[in-house]
């Protein structure tokens, strides 16, 4: 089907998020990392505040703090200063330089600066890479996957010098998409390892943004996948990517090292989980663990219990592209009418969906989703959902209206069950409120 756009000049209540935030998120999943945003202060302060608000965790990020004159004369002086300071003060294992729209428009060449810098300082042992992520393209999702790709590139280049590859067929590299919560990543790791595989998630926010009191405060990331495991992942026998946006980094591994890969576009709902488990069963030769057989039954039973709730109900969802795809396939299984699906920007996966998809904002959700019963979006959507009197289900990024949202599971049978119950509860409550309301009016 085609992707539509409503004609309007301004974005009203955007769901799109600057790409650089995606980069900062990706780097949070690596141990002792520091994302360094090459731009003005605000470009790092806003993402930091927003990520902090969503994950309720301190977020590691720094800035080259460009000011007007630096942009015009010598933006690289700032970058060099920032690198010097971050390296000498914090000694990060991984440093990711994130170019912004500002450096892009000003035509600043920081990639070659980084190369010279690395050569001159004889930098070895850590990863330092740069990505160009102007905000007038893509969104959080593309920023995240592009960063993972750049990270993998850098790893390949480093290890490339060391030659031989020792493929470990019992080891799988998991490339989790940006829409997955820390709990989702954890669930996926568990599912894969339950078939006897060692899993290395790149990046791994399940051990960094999931909330733990391990190491106290550090200006660098705490938790996440350590650098040696990341390098170790190059020996994996297989890559599993979750989310279509993660296909490119998976392909990169394939092209450079010959690692075969499998992409799962969606991760939500019965069928998506069936596919994943079936695949794992086939490649491992191991039986599907009993607990998943049970969970499958549990899910089916709860869907039966809840289907009365969803019958005749309609839903509007506004999310990042991969997430939208995933959520839409789950909604399909619930039998809800999908009144409007809105993506933050266009990608092949949403363009190829069987349903009509719109590229737009939360205002479009309000207009196209008029009379919908359920509204699924980030917390920015609360007001819009109220205006069209739909029940509000928080999903995506940022979610600040709920405690522990970052720990909610959406993947696997367990995730589908949790979400089905949550959505059903919301609709039930809404129904009850309406009943009360009509009684009072008489």
């Amino acid at each position: 089907m085609t992707v539509n756009r409503r004609k309007k000049p301004a974005s009203v209540n955007p769901i799109k998020i600057g790409q650089s935030l995606g980069a900062v998120l990706a780097l949070q999943g690596c141990y002792r990392a520091m994302p360094l945003i090459h731009g003005s202060q605000g470009c790092s302060a806003f993402p930091k505040a927003l990520l902090t608000r969503h994950f309720r965790e301190p977020i590691a990020v720094q800035t080259s703090a460009l000011q007007e004159m630096d942009v015009i004369f010598d933006a690289n002086r700032n970058l060099e200063e920032a690198l010097n300071l971050v390296l000498s003060k914090h000694r990060p294992d991984i440093i990711g330089i994130v170019g912004t729209e500002l450096t892009d428009v000003a035509g600043v060449d920081y990639q070659s600066l980084l190369k010279t810098y690395k050569r001159e300082r004889n930098m070895r042992g850590g990863l330092a890479f740069s990505v160009v992520l102007p905000d007038f393209r893509g969104s959080l999702e593309s920023g995240f996957s592009t960063t993972v790709e750049a990270m993998i590139d850098e790893m390949i280049q480093q290890v490339g010098h060391r030659g031989s590859r020792n493929v470990n067929t019992r080891q799988i590299t998991l490339l989790p998409g940006s829409f997955l919560t820390p709990a989702d990543v954890m669930e996926l790791k568990e599912m894969i390892s339950s078939f006897g595989f060692d899993v290395i998630a790149v990046p791994d926010i399940s051990t960094s943004l999931s909330g733990h009191l391990l190491t106290g405060f550090s200006p660098l990331t705490r938790g996440g996948v350590p650098l040696d495991s990341m390098l170790q992942s190059l020996q994996s026998g297989l890559t599993i990517a979750v989310g279509a946006s993660m296909e490119r980094p998976a392909r990169r591994l394939h092209n450079a090292l010959g690692t075969p890969y499998k992409v799962f576009n969606g991760a939500m709902g019965l069928k998506a989980t069936d596919d994943l488990l079936h695949f794992l069963h086939q490649i491992s030769g191991e039986p599907v663990p009993l607990r998943y057989c049970w969970q499958r039954e549990n899910l089916l039973d709860s869907m039966l219990d809840a289907h009365f709730q969803f019958a005749g109900m309609s839903v509007v969802a506004a999310l990042e592209p991969d997430h939208l795809y995933s959520v839409s396939s789950w909604l399909e299984e619930l039998g809800m009418e999908q009144k409007a699906l809105i993506a933050s920007y266009e990608t092949p996966i949403v363009a190829g969906m069987e349903r009509e998809v719109w590229v737009g904002d939360l205002d479009d959700a309000e207009v196209l989703g008029k009379d919908a019963d359920l509204w699924i979006s980030n917390s920015h959507g609360i007001a819009g959902a109220e205006r069209i009197e739909a029940a509000f289900l928080a999903a995506g990024f940022p979610v600040w209206s709920e405690l522990g949202a970052y720990m909610s599971v959406s993947v696997g049978y367990r995730g589908a069950m949790e979400w089905s119950n949550k959505a059903g509860d919301l609709l039930m409550r809404r129904e009850a409120e309406r009943r009360e309301g009509s009684v009072r009016h008489r």
């Binding site: 301004a10 209540n13 202060q41 605000g42 806003f46 800035t63 000011q67 971050v86 007038f136 405060f217």
Partner: protein, 454 residues
């Protein structure tokens, strides 16, 4: 306390109006913290609740920042809409002015706001968009004020952005309207952003003393009331040094006296109310204020008694921006909490002087250095609690330090007498919470002696 006209503030430091002021220190690459000027401009103007606020630039500036503050509205909510021109590649190459013009038309047509504020951002400033001209043309054509706010992020700090927003108000808004007949004229509250509804507590107090608020600049404001701000009798600059320039300019243009005050703590609140009445030159009002403040203070003293007992001698590290650093110290002192460390990174020399007036000699000043530096002070000074902005909240949580959020994202109102009581309660709840004990004691199996020799 004698009410005095405070006019000793020379515009020496960053954030005030004088052009010859020494520049704000350059933020240190790799160690910089805090928002950009665009952020600062938004903080000041977004609380004009019925206006539309359009961000001209690529998506990140608007997309990452909307709905991030705790400024509440008692009515209209258009300012909570996120409007952005959302420029893409080709807009950047061919210029975004056309899109800007269309966006303004669209917003005016669909939402009919009383005014539209248009914010420039780094990219639109860099490529030299003539925003002023587009706004002027659109305003004349649409017959509503369309106000350019030239405060792109890369010109400097948040503080500078506050000031530039103030300049925009002076240039385009204040003095363009007249109050409806019968509007009681009194005080403009400048730099009170109604965080967590603090403005409402303040207004209630002022009203019970018979002091009218003429314009809110800008917490919970309506566009129109700011247009007639020049008719007020007194300006009070509430906790925002960056807008001092606005007050000064209004004094020279319209002859409105101003003073700088705060509502954090009973003493400061009483002082501010008295100052208003004094500057209004109204004997009767002064007497009313005296009666009110006496009554409120003695009631507060009663209410505070149980909390004071618990808070006495507790040590706090306070890390917040500019003016709040000294005004909150007063509030804490009244509760018996000792401030053992205080952040001065965004404070001007005046602020630092005022901090010095309020704390003892052994209080540590934390000039910069971010989270690690604050934590060091907390540890070294054996502080019981950390009071800072939301950005540092989870830093404290990781270190299991009780924490109170004092900045603009918070949900609790601490202004006025009621606010002080609320602060006392929050401090007590936070310090007494069972979580601190639970989090610091190990799991039972970690407490056991090892079953075998290792």
């Amino acid at each position: 306390m004698d009410p005095v006209r405070k006019d000793e503030f020379d515009s020496e430091a960053c954030g005030s109006l004088s052009p010859k002021s020494k520049p704000c220190p350059r933020p240190k690459p790799g160690e910089a913290a805090g928002g950009c000027s665009f952020d600062g401009a938004q903080i000041t103007l977004l609380p004009i609740m019925d206006a539309a606020h359009l961000v001209h630039g690529p998506i990140a500036c608007a997309g990452n920042s909307w709905e991030s503050r705790g400024a509440l509205s008692s009515g209209p909510s258009l300012s909570q809409y996120g409007f952005a021109t959302d420029l893409n590649d080709s807009d950047i190459i061919f210029g975004g002015e056309k899109k800007l013009k269309e966006s303004i038309d669209y917003i005016a047509g669909r939402f009919a706001p009383p005014a539209i504020f248009v914010y420039s951002t780094c990219v639109t400033a860099l490529i030299g968009e003539d925003m002023d001209a587009v706004c002027k043309e659109a305003g004349e054509r649409l017959h509503i004020p369309v106000i350019p706010v030239n405060s792109p992020g890369f010109v400097g700090s948040k503080n500078l952005g506050n000031r530039l927003a103030g300049d925009a108000l002076l240039q385009y808004v204040i003095g363009t309207g007249e109050p409806e007949p019968g509007t009681p004229l009194g005080v403009n509250l400048i730099g009170e952003y109604n965080i967590a509804g603090e403005m409402w507590d303040i207004e209630k107090l002022m009203n019970s003393a018979g002091i009218a608020v003429t314009s809110r600049i800008t917490g919970d404001a309506r566009y129109k009331e700011i247009t007639w701000a020049h008719r007020a009798k007194v300006n009070m600059v509430v906790c925002s040094r960056a807008l001092l320039g606005l007050a000064k300019e209004m004094e020279s243009r319209y002859g409105i006296p101003y003073f700088e005050g705060s509502f954090y703590g009973a003493k400061e609140t009483t002082y501010s109310l008295r100052q208003m009445a004094y500057l209004m030159n109204d004997r009767e009002m002064e007497r009313r204020v005296d009666r009110l403040t006496e009554r409120e203070e003695s009631r507060l003293a009663m209410d505070l008694r149980p909390y004071r007992k618990l808070l006495k001698g507790k040590k706090a590290v306070l890390y917040t921006g500019g003016v709040k650093s000294w005004s909150v110290i007063s509030a804490l002192k009244e509760l018996g909490v000792q401030v053992v460390g205080v952040g001065t990174n965004k404070s001007t020399e005046d602020d630092v002087r005022r901090i010095a007036d309020r704390v003892g000699d052994d209080t540590e000043y934390i000039p910069e250095g971010g989270a690690s530096r604050i934590l060091k002070t907390v540890r070294e000074r054996k502080a019981d609690i950390m009071i800072a902005g939301g950005r540092n909240m989870y830093v404290a949580m990781k270190e299991q330090i009780p924490f109170i959020d004092i900045n603009q994202e918070r949900h609790k109102a601490y202004a006025g007498y009621e606010g002080l009581l609320r602060l006392a309660k929050e401090l007590t709840y936070s310090l007494a919470n069972p979580i601190w004990k639970l989090a610091s004691s190990p799991a039972p199996w970690d407490k056991e002696a090892p079953p075998y020799d290792r």
